[in-house]
Symmetry: none
Subunit: 218 residues, 4 copies
DNA sequence: TATGAATGAGTATTCATTCAT
DNA sequence: TATGAATGAATACTCATTCAT
């Protein structure tokens, strides 16, 4: 496929897109190093090899840049969870794989966790990213978690039940990551990943057992 | 008891203390609305009806004000957990009471949750409150959680086991609160408090059952 | 003499005077350590064991304190020069003794030099010490230098000539002290005191020789 | 030469340079009026017709501005001394010319003297311009004085001797300028320039005579 | 597209001084 | 006399954003 065709189909990496990408790369590093409030547009521009003013040709504000960086992170998260689920042999395995992939993505990439936690401050800060952007990001997060609920349904859980399980897993992971990330878990001399593994295994087993009790043939 | 006696005993609310208190009240509101980094001394002073310079007669820095506000919150949390535990009839009840008191304190006082979450940004932002203040706040948090571990031990858990349970409960509560607070739980149409109750009940029952298996006479 | 009599004669060290003295002692240290601009009233008050506001019962302003500290220094300078001159056997000796005493006072007490140099910035700074105070300090400085001119006259110089010599000596001393004090003389690897000694000796010898030529009998 | 050519050769006064120059002009006036510590960035900006923030596009800090203003002054001083020395017919003339040019530069430009005196406060206030800037300025001063030593060597003085002479002249000039500048010389009804002339002439003659005694053929 | 220059609002903190108590 | 509290002005410096070029 020629570039011309690709362009007509809107799938090209235009120079404009590439520049945006480079700016986002730079922004990611700065946000990760300094936090959302700590990162200055000047620093991002510098890291990208631009003047601050130049960034305004590519993004409408500092918040827009942040939103895009965060979105990329959530997309990667979704991909990782999706990839982990694919090869699993049965529902229970899929459940565990999805949950642990979610957890491990952030355990392995603590800087993405920093990014993501901003989502949890948006509620307090009225002048955050703006409602629209916030909802879009929410959707990406929900999508990344969906495989957990799907796996539960596959095992036999009702939709409602599956959702609650998903929320529980999300909450437990978020809490453990919070503790681990801020070194507060060290304060209790515990290993976050072991705790998460145990939690997920327990929940998966419980669910499976209950389903077998309900429908022994399954 | 007359004011004079109170004074002699050093328990008076001196005018100085009262002013400090009023400033802290104002600061609390501003910190809650803006976060530590977002809140400006000027805003706090304004809210307290003071000039910025005047605050320095009462607190040595913005960070000192923040630390004090946060500490008050953690102390209240500890008191609430302590009060909840006291009347409980047995270990299992005490465990549930402590865990739910912890959770409900923050569910009922979402503004304290905002405050508390600063603790969870210390890892990212090392130049926050300073090591000393940070450790003091950590200690207050740990103290508030301690009754959970104590109750587990009372039920028969080993010390190590009790600690892990405490961490699990803490993590689950933190995660659920995070979700609820940022309205991300609504996205899953679930009730945080129900989820927490179920989680705590399960864990308490599990522990009790296991203990009975080990030592049927207990 | 009883205190009552002393008091009637106005020579007592009243409590008020003593307190002033203690404040001045503290101020001296702070001014010496921080410079006039660098020293804050708060620091002086702290060093004196007072509240800033309290100092205003003893001095009308920060500048008033500074002026008084500086005056004390100039008085000490005058005393030292006077004491050095007294035992000298003849005019030439007196000349050398006075000049070197002046120089050495500041060489030995570099902090007094810092104090004194303010005099040399007052001209630039309109809101310095105020004209009146400035003139009083000038008078003390002039008095301290007078013995140099007197010695020259004693040797036989005309009044005009003696004054010029005094100015020359003052200037040379000031210049060397400036260089030495700011370590700029080290940049030239020279010893300020040797240079001063040589300069004074030369000038004294010159004068004496010329006087002998004029009036061989003297 | 057209502007285009000048531009190609990089010798143009770009608009940027011109603005810098205007800011420096404004700064010079403010520094002269207020001193380094006394001068505020706000005042400089105001005098230059700018917002304080705008200055940071041209200079990295207040100290940087000061350093540049002072450096310009020292460069001018060096040029004046160099120009004065050039046409002199012999060593003794060169010595006198250099010394008097140094003196007269400051006598004619008392504002540069104010600037230069900062160099003499570095010893007391170590956190002034920073070591690097300080050393650079020192070098410019030393360069401006060098012709004095060179002339002495030309007359026949040993290197060591020449250096001491240079220091002496520097010190005497500095002292006289100090006195004249702060009007303390008027207090003695003397003329600074006459005193300096006499001092320099005496020293030059002394040196020349001594050299002739040592080596009559010279 | 990109820049350099500029702005105006903002930051925490310090200062000398005042004044009611 | 002395204090504690307060003020208002000042400090250097940073920020996101704008705009003419």
């Amino acid at each position: 496929m020629t570039a011309a065709i690709a362009h007509r189909q809107g799938r090209t990496r235009t120079p404009k897109d590439m520049k945006r990408g480079l700016i986002l790369d730079a922004a990611r590093q700065v946000f990760l190093a300094e936090g959302l409030d700590g990162a200055s547009l000047r620093a991002i521009a510098l890291a990208a090899g631009y003047t601050p003013a130049a960034l305004y040709f590519h993004f409408e504000s500092k918040e827009a840049i942040y939103a895009e960086v965060l979105q990329e992170s959530l997309v990667k998260l979704g991909q990782r969870v999706g990839a982990a689920v694919a090869p699993a042999s049965c529902g229970a395995e899929r459940l565990k794989a999805a949950a642990m992939a979610f957890f491990e993505f952030y355990a392995d990439n603590p800087r993405d966790l920093d990014l993501g936690f901003y989502l949890f401050r948006g509620g307090m800060r009225p002048k955050g990213l703006g409602r629209e952007r916030d909802e879009a990001l929410n959707a990406w997060l929900a999508a990344a978690l969906q495989p957990i609920a799907s796996a539960a349904i596959e095992i036999g859980a009702a939709e409602e039940e599956a959702k609650l399980l998903m929320v529980d897993v999300f909450a437990h992971a978020a809490g453990l990551l919070l503790l681990a990330h801020t070194r507060r878990i060290r304060m209790f001399e515990a290993s976050a990943i072991e705790l998460m593994t145990r939690y997920v295994t327990d929940r998966a087993n419980q669910l499976q057992k209950r389903m077998r009790d309900v429908d022994p043939e399954a």
